[in-house]
Amino acid sequence: MQTLPHLWQGVWIDDAALSDRIDGLADEIGATLTRRTTLLPGLLGACEALAAELRPDAELRRTLESHLTEHGAATPSEVQDGLDGIAAFLTRENLERKIMRELGSGDPFDLVRIDYREKIYEAWAPLGFLVHVAPTNAFTVGALSVIEGLLAGNICFLKTGGADSLFAQLLLHRLGALDLTGTLAAHIYVARISSAKQDLLRAIFSNADGVAAWGGETGIEGTRKLAPLSARFVDWGPKISFAYFARGSFENVSAVDAVAREICLLEQQACSSPQCVFVETEDRAVLDAFANRLAASLQAISPGVPRLAPGPAERAEITQVTEVARAEAALDLAHVIESDDGTWRILVEYASGLRASPLYRTVWVKPLPRAKILRVLRPLRAYLQTTGVVCEDRDLAELTHLLIQAGVLRVTAGGRMLESYVGEPHDGVYALPRYCRRISLQSTTDVARISDLAELAVGARVEHAPILTKEAFQDFRVDDRYSELFFKSGGSSGEPKLSVFTYADYHEQMRLAAEGLLAAGLDPARDRCMNLFFGGGLYGGFVSFFTILETLRARQFPMAAHADHEFVAQTIVDQKITTLLGMPSYLMQLFSKNDATFKKYCGVEKIFYGGEHLGETQKRKFHSDYGVKLIRSATYGSVDAGPLGYQCVNSDGSAHHLHARLHRLEILELDRDEPATPGEPGRLIFTSLIRQGQRIERYEVGDLGRWIPDPCPCGRTSPRFELLGRHGDVFRIGSGFLTYGKFSRYLEDRLEFNGELQLVLSDGTPEILTLRTTSAHPPARLREILLEEYTDLREIVVSDGTLALEIVSVQPEELARTSGSGKLLHIVDRRAASQAKL
């Protein structure tokens, strides 16, 4: 068992070493602050691992249990409850939700734009060096306070009491050891120092940027005097809670029972336990009758709630308070109702003032008319926490108002005061913002289009999981807790499926997609945007872009892919729309049907497209005929995985930046799971960094691409890749590999080719490739161009003779389409062996 009392950056040290090291503390803090470390990923992982080690019968748990039991500061059941509570707190799910709730983002320390129309960035930043003073009465609090401090990115110094156990040291030592990034331990100091050692404490506190003080009033006052004036003082002092029975509810037996139960639970040791029950009356007889009712409930309920016997000091406190009340009975000011076995007692007092109970099933019952709530309670506002209100519905608003104005921080139903929810504020505030500073950056124009400074940094990555196919992904059963928002997916490759998201994921994805759109050239301050994506029928397009434009606070005309093209065109002209967002096929139809209108208007400056490929010929047509200046992909993404990449103003063609905040990207060889040679085509494999409920780990989205190794002139360091089409677009036939995209690209490059194009693969000797197209160009001309331009095709058709190439003109309705969204199938493989997919 560990015998040295202090933990110093992962190392156990004794008193002498502690004194020696204090002088160097300022320099050490400086060194740690200089390093650009991101604690969070390592911390979350370490917390999760630590939670696992706190499972019953795990070795660490047994070690901690025996240490605490030997130390004697907690009963075995308190030890169990405490350790269970820590394990629950440490789960990744809980911590992520806490960070999101309290700091408003999963990456709260990244400088991000707070308004996309301005060049202002804000972020949370740690206070720096945060000193925690643990209370001596609750063994878990010190360590948990440190973990909160670490979540906020701080270097944490925990002072425990001179007679405290080494629980916090042991737990936090293990936490540091479980951190795979190796950054955590340098941020953790725990020392057991008696409050009498003022000089030592002063030396430590002199470095403090923040002080988190727990404990009783006297202890907190002592800590306040040690804290430098410049340090933020975060006071977690003692609080008191009570129940309130409004008139009309005195006969509410189930509520009285519920409050009685809460008086028994935890022996009232929680801050939110009722210590007093106020009754809205001024009539002594009514109060006495209520007290008798509560006594009957306690009589029935108390024996069923396991009891923790008070220690000598607690027994003495109960006795003293009770004896004073008994003496006051001789003045008709109070009386005591006590169980025969002395396990619970009610102290009825006819004065209204809130009194603290000596606990262990001891409760005050006092009169408090509504009109006196403020006067009676407000003087004690520094101590008020929870009120469990029992009232008729119509009284709730008024009572809540009065209680909150009096200083109460939580209002619950009577009997439910102990219940809390994940992410609940603690004593009226969120802890993490109190341990942080809100900092800002007003950028220069150089980074004006970069909405997130994290894009300028590069991270390391390790991949190990097996590749996740689309089928496996779609078969994944998402827990109901994470199933909030459903979109149709899988439309382009067969049977429709639904993709499911949490709202939090959805909004985070849309926020990043918004940043992508900003990078691509949308100007929220100036552009008048029309959202022309399809909506309804569970499609995500319209809704997503609505959110994206809302996030950007761009002007938006939510038209959707409206069927009345003339109306849409006229609205664009009338409303001086400058920017269109939609699917290429819809945009093409819209412009061709209102050709004259748009040629005359020439006011559409920007087109952001998505959902389909937009050919070079069409782009040229938008530029030349309609005066569009900027045409770019709105986002590269899939319904399943969300936004994957975006184009910056320097991204031409199919070049994209990776949404590095959302995903990691691997590009693997076409036929084996090895990284593709840089610059060579490969399969795009994404791993989501933030996604609740379902893990998108090494997800093969079905697209092909290649890395673009050169740095982007825009300054972003997020990796760049070029999209090369769907994975299925590459197929093996006639002893070679061919790519659907190349057929269309060569035809577009040589002709004003704007028809649809489908490849049908059939058995034969040699195998047959049939190109079906709606183009008006003569098939022979198309064949000629393809054999001239497409070297691989020419080799197998002309040189090797292993493939027969046919070109057929067809009507649009003759082309095979997906059953769901009616998208064109690029390749139809009719071969028996069906080896089309490599």
Partner: protein, 388 residues
């Protein structure tokens, strides 16, 4: 009225008067015991007749004076918790007979307040006379210098500790009196540590015995400051006397062990350990308890002490820790003749102490209970903290 003429306020209290006139503090015999029992019966009757509160308390507990026959029976007399007096005024005398109204010196929270008729305050004061006489501390021929670690007062202050400390100055003529907690213009008190050090230096040079009374914390901080300033130890007159009161209990984080403290005083001021004494007393129970030369609080002939279980309130045997329960018939102004204190204490037979006193002695083990019981020493501690 001189002490010689001290009279109980009613003829029914003749045994009370007799008991309180016993000049031998640690007398212990059957005669004293039976006098005590009779005096307690008189006291209970007195309060039952005059205090509606106490009358109702006795009725509620079904207690009758006739049940008191032995010292052990005195434990059954219904007690009033000391804390009760912090929030309630209960009198057994007409208000116009109130001679003194003492409040505890706490600067925050509720003040303890006890009302005294002349008898009820003079009788304990005379007991201090008896104790000083018994210890040989009454030295009218030897002038001394006084250092009072108590509040400097305007005339007429009712602060209990200040009242007590100035009262203690009558046993020897004063050459100089220095009060450590100086009254400022704003009416508050400032701890004048440099004044104290200067006074001690003067006293050491002057050669006369020094008497230091009051809160131990302030003396401790004076010694600490002397050490911090690198001042060499002083050699005060060996007949000097340190008699402290108020205790450390409420700021235990800064307190040091009593015996270590005595060693510190001996080392810094040169006063021998047998001349360093602590006192124990309270506004709610004014019988003076003064340490013997072995630093133990023997129970004087005028009171009896029981130790009660913290939960059941049963009387505990020697050596066990529980509530301190004082019983004494001395007080006629309020029904505080049986008071349950908030202190955790144990009682020990007199023969366990080598000082020769036959009466049992008690040891204080801190406060019983968990709440902050703000007494004089807390207020003093607050003052110290404000000082820094």
């Amino acid at each position: 009225m001189t002490t010689a003429e001290l009279r109980v306020p009613g003829p029914s209290l003749s045994s009370v008067e007799k008991l309180c006139a016993i000049r031998t503090p640690h007398r212990s015999d059957a005669e004293a015991d039976s006098l005590f029992v009779v005096a307690m019966r008189e006291a209970v009757d007195w309060h039952q007749e005059r205090s509606p509160f106490y009358r109702k308390l006795l009725a509620q507990r079904g207690f009758q004076t006739s049940a008191i026959h032995t010292i052990a029976d005195c434990a059954r007399i219904p007690f009033v918790p000391a804390n009760f007096f912090k929030s309630h005024e209960v009198l057994s005398i007409p208000r116009e007979e109130v001679f003194l109204h003492l409040t505890s010196s706490g600067t925050t929270g509720q003040k303890s307040q006890i009302f005294f008729d002349e008898w009820s305050i003079r009788a304990p004061q005379r007991m201090i006379d008896f104790i000083f006489d018994a210890h040989g501390w009454t030295t009218p021929q030897t002038p001394v210098n006084y250092l009072l670690y108590s509040y400097e007062t305007e005339n007429g202050s009712k602060l209990g500790t200040a009242y007590t400390d100035h009262f203690l100055c009558k046993y020897a003529p004063g050459r100089e009196v220095f009060t450590a907690l100086r009254l400022t213009e704003s009416g508050k008190h400032d701890f004048d540590v440099f004044g104290c050090i200067a006074a001690l230096k003067r006293f050491a040079e002057g050669g006369a015995p020094v008497r230091i009374f009051g809160f131990p914390a302030f003396l401790y901080f004076t010694l600490q400051r002397m050490k911090a300033l690198g001042l060499s130890p002083l050699k005060l007159h060996p007949d000097s006397l340190v008699f402290l009161g108020g205790g450390w209990k409420s700021h235990a984080d800064q307190a040091i062990d009593k015996l270590a403290f005595y060693e510190e005083i001996e080392a810094r001021l040169g006063i021998p350990g047998v001349r360093l004494r602590d006192g124990f007393g309270s506004v709610e129970h004014c019988i003076p308890y003064v340490e013997c030369e072995h630093h133990r609080f023997h129970v004087p002939v005028w009171s009896r002490v029981f130790i009660r279980d913290l939960g059941t309130l049963k009387v505990l045997p020697f050596g066990e820790k529980g509530f301190l329960h004082f019983v004494s018939p001395y007080i006629t102004s309020v029904p505080a003749h049986s008071v349950l204190m908030g202190d955790l204490a144990s009682l020990h037979p007199g023969h366990e102490c080598a000082c020769g006193a036959a009466t049992p002695f008690f040891t204080i083990h801190g406060r019983a209970g968990t709440s902050k019981n703000k007494s004089c020493a807390v207020a003093a501690a607050e003052l110290i903290q404000r000082e820094r």
